[in-house]
């Protein structure tokens, strides 16, 4: 399997003290990789650094072999990377449809953008019913769907997903996890999934990376993480 995302010696943080310490990572194309760890382990910072919102002080990120150093955030969508930030990242004042169109904004071909939009509505039926509702009128689950939908309209190859289960009912979380699996199998989407909810993340992930205090302490198959009792106790708390 070819490698879609490669992270080499990534050190990044806010201000003087780095949050991430020389993180190495490799995600094969068409797989779901779960990033696990306790609060403050650097999971969100890892995603933010990958998508360029935080500048690394050392190391580099390669997407499909292409280094992303110095590529501005807004250009990464063009390269096939979409980031759904923690706390949804939905534009509250815009309607559902406008938010989704935002995702396809950079696409010059209007017909293609419309097709992508229709596909997202097919995936998320509740959104199709609320096209004209403003972002702030949506429920938490709908907002998460919208954030995901907006990322998917851009037809990414790599999806960075930060805590999709945050504040959602277990049933909705399960739906989102099932959807990720479906997208991986059907379209070959690669997902880097940050989750507090270890069980639900490992239920769909192919591989897992465990971060502790900004360092990678384990990177292995998801089933091995599930089975390795020692690791689970030490870092994942169950």
């Amino acid at each position: 399997m070819s490698e879609l995302l490669r992270v080499e010696g990534l050190t990044a943080g806010y201000g003087a003290a780095p949050v991430l310490h020389e993180v190495d990572l490799s995600v094969p194309a068409g797989t779901i990789a779960a990033v696990l760890g306790a609060n403050g382990a650097g999971k969100t910072t890892l995603l933010r650094t990958l998508s360029g919102l935080v500048r690394p002080s050392a190391g580099r990120v390669l997407l499909d072999g292409r280094p992303l150093t110095g590529v501005p955030v807004e250009k990464l969508v063009h390269l096939g990377m979409a980031h759904v930030p923690e706390g949804r990242g939905v534009v509250a004042e815009l309607t559902v449809e406008e938010n989704l169109r935002l995702g396809g904004l950079w696409r010059r071909d209007r017909a293609d953008a419309n097709k992508a939009l229709a596909e997202v509505y097919e995936l998320f039926e509740p959104l199709a019913k609320r096209r004209r509702s403003a972002g702030h009128q949506l429920s938490g689950g709908e907002r998460q769907m919208l954030a995901l939908g907006r990322a998917l309209v851009a037809r990414p190859r790599l999806l960075l997903l930060d805590e999709p289960s945050l504040g959602l009912a277990p049933k909705v979380t399960a739906q989102i996890m099932a959807l990720l699996k479906q997208l991986r199998d059907r379209t070959g989407l690669t997902v880097l999934l940050v989750e507090q909810n270890v069980r639900s993340a490992l239920s769909v992930a192919d591989t897992g990376v465990v971060l502790a205090l900004g360092r990678v302490v384990a990177a292995t198959g998801a089933d091995r993480l599930r089975d390795d009792e020692e690791l689970r106790h030490a870092y994942l708390g169950f």
Binding site: L53, E74, K75, V77, L94, L105
Partner: protein
């Protein structure tokens, strides 16, 4: 979808033509003074419409739009006078000068926008404030070109003879200004409805989400400034044509503040709100004049002082009341009233 888009375009076009026709009829009825006021409203509308797109949609505060109007006004004045000196006359000259005014102001807007895209909130307000103060001062510094505080006269052709020998000049001015305002409204309405408007609102509400969606935030902010400056430039140019003169006093910091207040009171971010704002800009000083002239008998000196400051006072008070009672401005209030009426009617 394409059908829908062209439907919006057609609707805007039909509305513009309809408004144009109604205003044409109105201009035939009004006396010269009212026609001149109508023309002034139209000129201000170009500027308020541009400002509401900038401050309302892209969320960038500008305290310097009065100065941008001055850029447009002085460009038009210099163009008109230079062309007249070289015996270039005719009806095609004025549109050309106005276009030059718009283009030069857009260039100025681009430069301010470049700075603005790096600044937020109070810092942006500070920079635009500096522009509002610096531009009128520049006319004094370069007094050979701009003739200092005296300002410049603007050569404007009289109405074409084909309209008859006794055609009132004010009606002709109203037509010119209204044409400019309608064109501005049509262009802005289409721009705001589409991709551009959506991009600006996304940038205003959530910069991170906008960037993650692939929007170049800085670029969108500069574009907003350029578009907005175009409106201000045209508005300023029209004012110069109406007054047949330009002077720094006409484009003081007070004008910049008035423009912003007018846009907020009218309804921030809405083009219809910009119309209310432009009306207020003309109506309030007139009202203040009437109030203070009522006081002339008792004390002329007090009346004179009052007339200068009354509009500012009234504007300030209105702004406070609007902010507390109807944050959506006049347009927001109308929206609520019509919504309420619509809910009421079918139930009967």
């Amino acid at each position: 979808m394409n059908l829908l888009r062209s439907a919006t375009l057609l609707r805007h076009l039909a509305l513009t033509l309809l408004a144009g026709f109604a205003l044409y009829l109105l201009s035939l009825e009004l006396d010269p003074f009212r026609n001149f006021q109508l023309a002034t409203v139209a000129a201000y509308l170009c500027a308020t419409a541009g400002l509401t797109v900038l401050t309302g949609l892209s969320g960038q505060l500008s305290l310097g739009h009065g100065a941008l109007m001055a850029v447009g006004a002085y460009t038009v004045a210099l163009c008109q006078n230079t062309l007249a000196e070289h015996d270039v006359t005719g009806n095609g000259v004025l549109p050309l000068s106005l276009l030059a005014g718009v283009l030069v102001t857009m260039a100025a807007g681009f430069v301010i926008g470049l700075a603005a895209a790096r600044l937020r909130g109070p810092y942006l307000a500070g920079v635009t404030l500096a522009v509002a103060v610096a531009v009128p001062a520049a006319t004094v510094t370069f007094d050979e070109l701009f003739n200092s505080e005296q300002g410049l006269g603007v050569y404007v052709e009289p109405p074409p003879l084909s309209l008859g020998p006794y055609f009132p000049n004010e009606r002709w001015q109203a037509w010119i200004a209204l044409l400019g305002a309608l064109l501005t409204m049509l262009l802005l309405a289409n721009l705001v409805r589409g991709r551009f408007g959506r991009t600006l609102r996304a940038v205003r509400d959530d910069e991170v989400a906008a960037r993650l969606s692939g929007i170049d935030v800085a670029r969108a902010q500069v574009q907003a400034f350029v578009v907005s400056a175009a409106g201000a430039g045209l508005g300023g140019g029209l004012l110069a044509v109406l007054a047949q003169s330009v002077s720094p006093g006409a484009f003081s910091l007070t004008l910049s503040l008035f423009l912003l207040m007018a846009v907020v009171i009218g309804g921030l971010g809405s083009l219809s709100g910009a119309v209310w704002g432009a009306l207020l800009l003309v109506a309030l000083p007139d009202l203040a004049h009437q109030v203070s002239s009522g006081l002339v008998a008792s004390s002329p000196a007090a009346a004179q002082r009052l007339e200068g400051n009354l509009p500012l006072l009234v504007f300030g008070l209105t702004l406070i009341v609007v902010m507390i009672a109807m944050p959506g401005g006049v347009q927001g209030l109308l929206h609520r009233v019509t919504g309420w009426a619509r809910r009421r009617l079918p139930s009967r």
